[in-house]
């Protein structure tokens, strides 16, 4: 298609400026979209939390804050888990709560050490279910090589919570000299994913039972610290890692493009997606690029080391399905572009809220 006319370009420039304006929450109340990981979440975080707590450690909005205590470089993170249903194929809220925090530490380049666990329980919640959740937390902690060292319990009246919510916080130690962060991505870098995308999110959607769809799918929930350690041991050109949770791979790629002021170019054909995830996504009219994973990460690495990084990932059982999906270029900054399988090009933007099943 043709290049835009001057007038069109003026409009486009005006929009671009408007998009860069400081975020402002327009709603009077919190809506579900604020928790979806998309634009609404970003606005809430920047306009309310970042605005109030602003400090250099928080500012990069990485998965974990990294700082030095005495001689030691540490990473600290926290995450709350409100998944429904609590038990689903491939896992439950317990292993999710451990793996989620372990992964936030791991992708920050830290070796996870200790976790906290906070429980908010609804009056009437089954003790048997609680035991099941806690045991899977114990098993997940053992698998990840961390200990749960302190915790808290609150019980609220029936109807004031949905069974069981779990919060975990974690601390880890940074033992290498890599300066990691999405802002360090440079033109010429390669973008990898550690495995097929969207399995967790689709599994949860189907496990709720409302859609009446059956698929042979399991959550991908897993601790990534072993995979990260192997990767960082194999190559020194890793710029950033992010676990692709809420908002999926598309959201992470947008964070990279925005933070580093670069363009991310992705090849649709190269993105690993399991058939069942694709089938369910087509049926529901959603895009797997926006669907959450709980055991997959996006890696930005020096382009010259992409093959070595890919080999390191693939050598680990959790990275067998790793693939190079794209690269970083300088223009147009702040955008994620997709070369479609059909041979066209389009922009992959942040979603406003959760990907909603659509009929049209």
């Amino acid at each position: 298609m043709s290049a835009p006319t001057d007038r069109e370009q003026q409009v486009l420039d005006r929009i671009d400026k408007a998009r860069r304006r400081r975020a402002k929450v327009r709603e009077e109340r919190v809506t579900l979209a604020h928790g979806s990981g998309g634009k609404a979440t970003q606005t809430l975080v920047e306009a309310i939390f970042l605005d109030a707590f602003r400090n250099p450690l928080l500012e990069p909005l990485e998965d974990a804050a990294t700082f030095t205590a005495g001689e030691t470089r540490l990473a600290l993170t926290t995450d709350s888990f409100v998944v429904s249903p609590l038990f689903f194929p491939g896992g439950d809220i317990g292993d999710l709560a451990v793996n989620g925090t372990v992964n936030d530490l791991a992708v920050s380049g830290a070796r996870p050490l200790y976790l906290t666990a906070g429980f908010i329980l609804e009056e009437g919640f089954g003790i048997e279910d609680l035991v099941r959740i806690v045991h899977s937390m114990r098993d997940a902690a053992e698998r990840a090589g961390v200990d749960v060292v302190t915790g808290d319990t609150k019980v609220v009246q029936r109807g004031k919570a949905d069974g069981c919510y779990v919060n975990t916080a974690g601390v880890g130690v940074l033992e290498h000299s890599h300066a990691l962060g999405v802002a360090t991505a440079k033109p010429g870098d390669a973008v990898l994913v550690s495995g097929p995308i969207g399995e967790h999110g689709v599994t949860i959607m189907l496990a709720r039972g409302e859609l009446d769809i059956d698929a042979d799918l399991e959550s991908d929930t897993a601790p990534l610290n072993g995979l990260v350690a192997d990767l960082l041991g194999a190559v020194d050109g890793v710029r950033a890692m992010r676990d692709a949770t809420r908002g999926g791979v598309a959201t992470i790629l947008n964070e990279v493009a925005k933070a580093a002021d670069v363009a991310v170019v992705v090849d649709e054909n190269a993105i690993p997606v399991r058939d069942e995830v694709r089938g369910a996504s087509e049926l529901l009219g959603i895009d797997p690029m926006y669907v959450a994973c709980e055991g997959r990460m996006v890696v930005v690495v020096d382009g010259a080391q992409a093959d070595a990084a890919l080999a390191a990932l693939r050598a680990h059982p959790l990275g067998e399905g790793a693939a190079k999906i794209g690269r970083i270029v300088d223009d147009p900054p702040g955008l994620v572009l997709l070369n479609t399988a059909f041979g066209g090009t389009r922009i992959v933007d942040l979603l406003v809220g959760d990907p909603l099943p659509r009929i049209c």
């Binding site: 298609m1 859609l211 572009l337 041979g343 066209g344 009929i359």
Partner: protein
């Protein structure tokens, strides 16, 4: 995926693209309207415009059932949902469509219970499981979706369910196309007909377009090669001086449509004298309501619905965009006051709306994007 991947082949697209280009008369501009929002979605999702020569422009039509629901109807739905005994069900698409005081999500934040369903039959299941709750299905859609609602009402009647009703907002495509054709400032060379609507209504209802308005119509499928092939067929018709209805999507669309589906609609519903379309105003005989004989299942009769009428925002130029008179970016509020996060007009509401599609996927110079994506 069978019947999907075969129709997404880049090699074949290149060949079709060359054919289409070779059919263009030098110096002539071509404007084709894809009536259906699903086509708009395909066009942007696959980057299809990269295959079209500069002088072919696609105009995104009114065929997005979510986009055309006026604010007043959203307000009415929220009014019903506010009753403490009501649980409303809706397709995901409707959840973010703004009424005058917010959308369904905002309404839920204030206490209503509006749940997403995949099928109207799922609402029926919810009604069976919650006999003390009034379950109201927010029914939207063109003729593709109307039979499903009709079948659901028939089933509810069969089961004698007393706590299920539909808030009927089903619209019909032909009057909308006619409204566009009758617009004095229109310049279109042909239409891509809505494939999935046509599985129900067939291809005959479009015959008035070549006959009375001298514009060719090709009923098109939803994979990108379907759309390219349909554009090719339109170009061949123009080149050969023909003007008729053709069916590119014959693997799915029977020429006469689906008689069983049409019968189900006729049994349960009838045309309204008129209905308001967001951006297009009132169009006569353009929507369906539940017939008297199924009045028990009509939410408009079961609950007192205020029948709110909210004028489209003044600044909004959706009507012009829908008719193809303005391009999305030419609207005064496009991209600044009106964005996907805070949509003012119909075209920005659903990801299929012309403006939302342009905003999300097309707002950058295609040339710049293309160069960038192929640089190494």
């Amino acid at each position: 995926m069978r019947f999907v991947d075969e129709f997404r082949d880049a090699e074949k697209a290149r060949a079709l693209s060359a054919k289409i280009t070779s059919l263009c008369e030098p110096g002539r501009q071509y404007k084709f309207m894809e009536v259906c929002g699903g086509h708009t979605h395909t066009i942007y999702k696959h980057g299809l415009e990269d295959y079209l020569p500069e002088n072919i422009q696609l105009v995104h039509g009114p065929g997005c059932p979510v986009c055309v629901i006026p604010m007043g109807r959203v307000d009415d739905a929220i009014h019903i949902a506010r009753r403490p005994d009501v649980l409303m069900t809706s397709f995901g698409d409707m959840m973010r469509v703004p009424g005058s005081g917010g959308n369904f999500f905002d309404s839920n934040a204030e206490g209503t219970n509006i749940r997403m369903v995949y099928s109207p039959l799922d609402s029926l299941k919810i009604a069976r499981q919650n006999p003390d709750t009034q379950v109201v299905f927010m029914a939207i859609g063109f003729e593709t979706t109307t039979p499903s609602t009709a079948m659901t009402v028939l089933r509810a009647a069969e089961e004698g369910l007393e706590n299920f009703s539909v808030f009927c907002n089903h619209v019909t495509i032909i009057p909308a196309i006619k409204a566009i054709l009758d617009s004095p400032d229109l310049r279109l060379d042909g239409f891509l007909g809505p494939g999935h609507v046509s599985t129900v209504i067939g291809c005959r209802p479009y015959e008035f377009i070549p006959r009375d308005y001298s514009r060719p119509v090709v009923v098109a499928g939803f994979e990108p090669l379907d759309i390219l092939q349909s554009i090719y067929q339109l170009m061949v018709q123009l080149r050969e001086g023909r003007c008729e209805v053709e069916n590119q999507y014959s693997r799915v669309v029977p020429w006469d449509g689906n008689i069983v589906a049409l019968r189900a609609i006729a049994q349960v519903m009838e045309l309204r004298p008129y209905f308001e379309w967001r951006g297009l105003g009132f169009i006569s005989h353009s929507a369906m309501r539940v017939k008297d004989s199924y009045a028990d299942f009509d939410a408009e009769r079961r609950f007192a619905v205020p029948g709110v009428r909210v004028a489209d925002p003044k600044a909004c130029q959706c009507g012009e965009v829908l008719k193809g008179v303005l391009k999305p970016w030419e609207c005064k509020v496009f991209g600044t006051a009106c964005t996907p996060e805070t949509p003012i007009g119909t075209c920005m509401v659903s990801p299929e709306g012309a403006c939302a599609a342009y905003y999300n996927f097309g707002r950058f110079s295609r040339q710049r994007v293309r160069e960038a994506s192929h640089s190494s």
